[in-house]
Amino acid sequence: MSDAVSPISAAGSEGFARVRQIGPLGMVTLRAKAGTKGLKAAVKDATGCALPDKRRIVTKGAFRAGWMSPDEYLLILPRADVAKALAAIAKALNGQHHLAVDVSDARAVFRIEGAKADQVLRKLCPVDFDRLAAGELRRTRAAQVAAAFWRDDAGFTLVCFRSVAGYMGDLLRLCAQPGSEL
Amino acid sequence: MKRYSLFAIAREAFSHHQGWERAWRSPAPKVAYDAVIIGAGGHGLATAYYLGKNHGITNVAILEKGWLGGGNTGRNTTIIRSNYLQDPSAAIYEKSRSLYETLSQDLNYNVMFSPRGVMMLAQTHHEVRGYLRTAHANALQGVVTEFISPARVKDLCPILNIDGPRYPILGALWQPRGGTGRHDAVAWGYARACSDMGMDIIQHCEVTGVRSENGVVTGVDTTKGFIGTKKLGIVVAGHSGQVAQMAGFRLPVESMALQALVSEPIKPCMDVVVMANTVHGYMSQSDKGEMVIGGGTDGFNNYTQRGSFQHIEETLRALIETFPMLSRLKMLRQWGGIVDMTGDRSPIISKTPLGNCFINCGWGTGGFKAIPGSGWAMAELMAKGEPGPLAAAFDMGRFREGRFIDESVAAGVAH
């Protein structure tokens, strides 16, 4: 067993906003219909978080639970806790129709930080950032690929697929170049 | 009809061009005709022209709800080629291309057919195999094409970046006798010739109903009154579904917006037509110097003659990657046309549930190049009541049988 290697090895960059890749994180996709018996408990047991409302992401320390669709949640947690979380979900949802799967390796995660961090994403995502609520998990498009992000602590955390981590890193750096502040 | 020539121009110049006669008459509709064609676009006018020329039927009216040539004929990117994969397509497009070669002389109207050559770039191994297949098919179909090397590609079109890091050009399917034409002139030339044969082109005359008795069309209601006819041809491109509905049948077509744009004119820098299917874009340079660029089709039903802008952006990204010198040129104008897409993206030239009613539609994104051939085949169908060899495979029955004419096979895409 070797240590997990992040999708791209490039270091962070300083533009008018700071862009860096973070992780590795643990991630679990949980699919279950709202109202499924044990769903709340499953999310709680796996992450300590309440079941998120539509388009919300709930944070509890290093654990997060995000609403992805009416029957899909994204649980974010330390990598070491994934197996434990999967076991907790299996237990809580035992006998209920659901799907829980480790997707920790399938994603790349970026932090975009600084007072103008939103400007970087405004160049990539068709999202009204002025109206982005606190604790909102927005799934959308970043340039030509799918992405999801939320705002916290003077910055944004952005999740995309692993295979396009290089593309995403390049894009974010390009859009944060000094001189291109909005 | 006064013939057009350099001498005629010189003669008229002395009288400040006061002596030119009308290119086509604007008559009021007669009570009835031997044949009525709905749609005075390129295809409708060509149908009428060949009805007269090949079949001696000249008591014909061509009804147009707007101005003649104002639909897709007047808003396409004017590419003429016949390097199709499937036999029926290759046959009708090649017939069309060969008619284009002499169309200016046939019509005594310069349609500016410019056989400058069309190349379709192969940018993946898969695309190479697809075009090699087309080249083989074309050789057996009597269509002159050739798969050429990247060096030859560069030679024919120096502004191409053949070493693109992402999609280097691996070769191209080259049709030297393909090219472009002046779209408006095609409609105008046919209109003038039809009018000269005594046919009535009736503009601003919208068909509002199709009347039939016992499965046979008797005439059409229009904004200029009822017009009786012995045969009816429906040749209305994007609005085919609307007219078919009036006639009481449903078509396997959907109407969508296809977009195009031109740059500002620049001095000649590109002597061929280039199509790049992997990155989705095609381009030629008009005689005026504009870079004429074809964009994508929206994926939703739309009758607005304007499309969604992201397709223009996608096309331009692709073309700037392929032709880096484009970046500082400017978009002068963009527009859309409504194309009717069939289930297999190939056209329909077919009998209909009504005995004397025929339909020509579904040319999708490829109608301009087909105008003469389509008119030729449609005229034969209307005159004889049965399709000739050019039209036979394009009947509507193919959808029921699963007998597709699927050209996407050749476009380098798997499905």
Binding site: A4, V5, R31, H97, L99, V101, V103, D105, D128, S163, V164, G166, Y167, L171, G179 | S5, I9, H16, R22, W24, D87, A91, K95, N110, P115, R129, G130, L132, R133, T134, H136, A139, G142, W188, E264, P265, I266, K267, P268, K288, G289, T304, R306, F309, E313, R317, E321, M325, R328, L329, K330, M331, L332, R333, R400, G402, R403, D406, V409, A414
Partner: protein, 1001 residues
């Protein structure tokens, strides 16, 4: 003599001189100049040549409507043709060259004198160059192309970068004149999120130039205060140098911001394209003055009256020392008065109206300016610049009454509202007889997704030429109401303007101008369309306004008819004897003014042109110097060439090594979708042509998917994970499509079925360990039992190898003993390296996609996209065994029952073996005797995959052949493109290890 006055110029900074060059000549201007004002200041009247006749051209206008002053700007990777001098801000060391002439601007051999021009009326090319046929392509067309085309084509890529930004607002106000500023103020004070954009670098529009008073203060001061107030509000965004290029459906507006056009190379993006989504759009885009159509109105020195005033007031530049003003309205008198006040000489004001008694004419007369009413210009004298005008009666045919020497002519034919943005999405226009103009029809606006007006015109753009602020106030209140924003009650600012008398529409000057004069009266300066051309078009039956436009090219130049359209339309309507509204207008299309293609492509160039999907082992491949090929958006190694090895040699080596020792393939791109739930088995039985519900846990099964037509769309191995969980492998690049396909059926058709899917393609790196030594290397890695007994062919198991937690599948796409091992993607590179390390002594080498393809072809395995092309059924490929006969239904079953698909005459899969051992060319067909009714050769089959087999040392191929499986042993001939043929024997498509002994050991 065009010159700069020693005082004045509200926009220039005389303390900041700027050097620039025109046609290599060093000139100087001031900061704040446009290229046009600077050229005029340097007496450079002649700036270009017209499109068709190569006539000398001078500056006519002062903004985006300029048809003539187009230059080649910059050089090398910053060369830009057709740059409009009137909207180009001057910067240090700007280099401009004039266009469309040879050898020089002053002496152009392309110029056509009046006799030759007479041979080229509108539409002349349709009537000639018909014979001989070949001459068009080889002679006429090349000449026409060379003489057309304006600027030179850039040769290089672009040194600059571009970016795009998404933006949102409640109200977008387009136009930073007083109407736009006021509209923005009202909306901003009401709390709406407002954007205000202005295409030029300055706020205020015409009002400061004309010296209007607003609420009693000079317009310039009012503008400054308004801008300051707006700039101080956090919910307001102000952007100068930003043009609203186009309005699209549902409130989408493209705004082109020119960031660094005037500061090239400063590191900023050159343009920024804002993709605005606005709740409502106020088009306060102003109006454009119209030229008048008199003979030789194209001679340099003839300008719009408003432009002349702009140059005087903004830049202290006067194009002549002695000016004639010609007009049909009062507004142009402002120019005469302004020139007079600046100490310039006005030869006369020629007013086509019989009376000119308004306040402005009175003021002009009071200044001592001579006013001639009922008069027009018969003809302008001069070649490369105006030397005088011949004056005549407007009602006559052009008989000259007197001559006025002058070196500039200021013309005004009235004003046309800028209705482009209102029209882009279908807003209708109405003809305003009083103003002789088209203006927006508020009853038929362009509508947005909620069915309400998307664009509301305000101010001069709405036809309120003299009550712009009041109109803007009314319109913005309508907009706010529809947006649900409550506006504060307040009186609109008062605009104090002198009264103006009505204009008199004048479309041809003089009214009954002779043929000769009409043939010299330009409508479209750039495209050389004259009054006589439009009249000819009408006479020849090109009577629809679109026909006229296309026949004559009126309005099709790079200014898109901003100056010419209305005049041309009116001339057409007179020729047809129909009122203007009946003739209608041409369609306004985006963009309002040309936008660089680079800006529209945005950031997507070079490395980020498209997303490039990489596997976890990609760095390793790159380090090994792999030749990559695109597979969808993925890149995969095609082969790994050793030094001095061609790709072909590398592929052959990779095949042989894999068959003889050990090959390693990065198979991570393979699609992996988990399907789970009580109904998952039933669901997969619908999706696949064969039965998946019966697959035992721990086993794998190859499956086919068809579309509803019955044609093959994907294939792959399915593994049963547990009682209600399956893992479906798809083709590389097919995962998203197939996952979407699954979700479509689950969400839209069988939504009551209990099935969940998850696309886990990227969670795993997958390595194919292939060849006789495959088991040995896994044993060497150690950690689990991979023996035939423990893990038989078509089984899978979870375990660990060398400490890597993994899932191992005993499947083979090569025919060799083969394991596919999935490990978490983050460990993929390490596991891949571990396999190589462990395999080094066993002959391990990586292989790429081409070796993969060859090995599968040697085994007769089909490849989606090669054997299939969207028109091929499983039965065509001899895969009947994988199509269930028992299932009542699956996707594609009904389609396959249709006549053409069920026909016994379909082409079927066979192998081909050339008699001479050569490789059949890719894509070759098997011809049959005779031709069809269209003269095309009959065909009876084609090759689908053809390779040189390194294993067998000769060409092998698969293909489809009529009655193929019944024709084993028969020799058929493939037609090559050169007309020759290749003979091949029909054989089984399995060329290697026919009984599958190697993979199952």
């Amino acid at each position: 003599m065009s010159t700069r006055l020693t005082t004045g110029g509200r926009l220039i900074d005389r303390a900041a001189p700027i050097d620039f060059s025109f046609n290599g000549k060093r000139l100087s201007g001031f900061a704040g100049d446009t290229l046009a004002s600077a050229l005029l200041a340097n007496d450079q009247m002649l700036v270009g040549r017209s499109f068709k006749y190569h006539r000398p051209r001078g500056i006519v206008a002062s903004g985006a409507e300029e048809p003539n002053a187009l230059v080649n700007l910059g050089h090398g990777a910053r060369a830009e043709p057709n740059q409009r001098a009137t909207t180009t801000e001057l910067f240090d060391r700007l280099q401009a060259r004039s266009q469309n002439h040879w050898p020089s601007l002053e002496f152009d051999v392309g110029v056509l004198n009046k006799h030759a021009a007479r041979l080229l009326p509108g539409g002349f090319y349709y009537k000639t160059f018909i014979h001989p046929r070949a001459a068009w392509k080889h002679l006429f067309e090349p000449i026409i192309r060379q003489t057309a085309g304006l600027g030179a084509a850039p040769k290089d890529g672009d040194a600059d970068r571009y970016e795009q930004v998404y933006a949102f607002c409640d109200l977008l106000v387009v136009g930073g004149g007083v109407a736009g500023l006021h509209a923005a103020l009202v909306a901003a004070r009401a709390g709406a999120r407002v954007w205000l954009v202005e295409q030029s670098a300055q706020w205020g529009g015409r009002a400061p130039v004309d010296g209007d008073l607003i609420d009693g203060v000079p317009a310039a001061d009012w503008v400054d205060a308004a801008v300051a107030e707006l700039a101080g509000m956090a919910h307001v965004t102000l952007r100068a140098r930003t043009m609203a290029a186009g309005v699209y459906d549902h409130g989408y507006v493209l705004l082109d911001e020119r960031l660094a056009d005037h500061t090239p190379g400063d590191g900023r993006p050159r343009h920024r394209l804002w993709r605005m989504r606005a709740g409502k759009i106020i088009a306060a885009t102003g109006a454009i003055e119209r030229p008048l159509s008199f003979a030789c109105n194209d001679v340099p020195g003839v300008m719009l009256a408003s432009a002349l005033r702009d140059y005087l007031v903004n830049w202290a530049v006067v194009p002549g020392q002695r000016t004639v003003v010609v007009t049909n309205n009062d507004d142009a008198y402002r120019t005469a008065i302004a020139l007079h006040q600046a100490g310039q000489t006005i030869a006369a004001v020629i007013d086509a109206r019989d009376q000119a008694e308004g306040a402005l004419p009175a003021q002009a007369r009071a200044c001592g300016i001579r006013v001639e009413t009922g008069k027009s210009i018969a003809r302008v004298k001069g070649g490369k610049r105006v030397t005088g005008v011949e004056v005549c009666r407007q009602t006559g045919d052009g008989t000259i009454s007197n001559f006025l020497a002058c070196d500039a002519v200021a013309m005004s034919g009235g004003w046309s509202p800028v209705v482009h943005l209102y029209s882009h999405c279908g807003g209708k226009l109405i003809w305003d007889d009083a103003g002789a103009m088209f203006r927006p029809d508020a009853a038929h606006p362009p509508i947005t997704h909620d069915g309400r007006a998307m664009v509301i015109a305000a101010g001069a753009a709405n036809g309120a030429l003299r009550t712009a602020v009041a109109d803007a106030d009314a319109q913005v209140r309508i907009a706010l109401k529809e947006l649900g924003v409550k506006a504060r009650k307040a009186k609109a600012p008062r605009q104090d303007l002198p009264d103006e008398a009505a204009l008199q529409p004048v479309w041809i000057m003089p009214q009954a101008a002779t043929l000769g004069l009409r043939a010299k009266a330009w409508l479209d300066f750039q495209n050389d369309v004259k009054v006589s051309d439009v009249q000819l078009a009408a006479r020849e039956g090109y009577q629809s306004v679109e026909h006229t436009k296309r026949y004559t090219t009126l309005g099709m130049a790079t200014d898109q008819g901003k100056l010419s359209n209305i005049n041309g339309l009116a001339v057409l309507s007179e020729a047809l004897n129909e009122p203007v509204p009946q003739v209608g207008t041409t369609t306004f299309r985006p963009p309002y003014a040309p936008v660089p293609l680079g800006a529209l492509a945005g950031e997507a160039r070079g490395a980020v042109f498209q997303p490039l999907r990489k596997t976890p082992m990609d760095d390793w491949h790159a380090a090994q110097g792999a030749t990559f090929e695109p597979v969808g958006l993925w890149r995969r190694p095609y082969c790994y060439s050793h030094p001095n090895e061609t790709p072909q040699q590398a592929v052959a080596r990779e095949v042989k090594n894999t068959r003889q020792a050990l090959g390693l393939l990065d198979a991570s791109t393979l699609g992996k979708i988990i399907v789970k739930g009580p109904d998952a088995g039933r669901f997969l039985d619908m999706l696949y042509t064969n039965v998946m519900s019966s697959l035992p846990v721990g086993r794998c099964r190859y499956g086919l998917m068809c579309n509803e037509q019955g044609f093959l769309s994907d294939d792959g191995v399915v593994a049963r994970i547990d009682a209600d969980t399956w893992l479906c492998h798809t083709t590389s690049g097919g995962a998203d499509r197939i996952h979407g396909w699954m979700e479509d059926w689950l969400q839209c058709e069988w939504w009551d079925w209990q099935v969940f899917t998850a696309n886990v393609t990227e969670q795993y790196a997958q390595v194919a360990v292939v060849g006789p030594n495959a088991r040995k290397v896994l044993e060497k890695l150690g950690g689990m039992d991979v023996s035939q007994d423990a893990l038989p062919f078509m089984a899978w198991t979870d375990g660990s190898l060398a400490g890597f937690g993994c899932r191992v599948y005993r499947i083979s796409f090569s025919g060799e003993l083969s394991y596919e091992i999935a490990v978490p993607a983050d460990q993929g590179a390490a596991f891949w390296q571990a396999c190589h390390d462990a395999g080094a002594a066993l002959g391990a080498m990586p292989y790429g996609t081409e070796a993969l393809h060859i090995m599968r072809a040697e085994k007769g395995f089909i490849m989606i996209g090669d054997e299939t092309d969207g028109t091929v059924t499983p039965q065509d490929l001899g895969l009947d065994w994988a199509v269930s006969k028992k299932k009542a239904d699956f996707l594609g079953k009904r389609g396959q029952e249709r006549r053409f698909l069920a026909s016994p005459e379909r082409w079927k899969l066979v192998g081909f073996e050339t008699l001479d051992g050569s490789v059949i060319p890719d894509g070759a067909y098997v011809a049959a005797a005779g031709t069809n009714a269209n003269g095309q050769r009959h065909v009876q089959g084609r090759v689908t995959s053809t390779y040189h087999s390194p294993t067998l040392g000769r060409g092998i191929a698969m293909g489809l052949l009529l009655d193929g499986p019944d024709r084993m042993g028969e020799v058929v001939s493939f037609a090559k493109v050169d007309g020759s043929t290749v003979q091949a024997r029909v054989v089984s498509p399995v060329f290697y290890d026919k009984h599958g002994e190697k993979q199952n050991v």
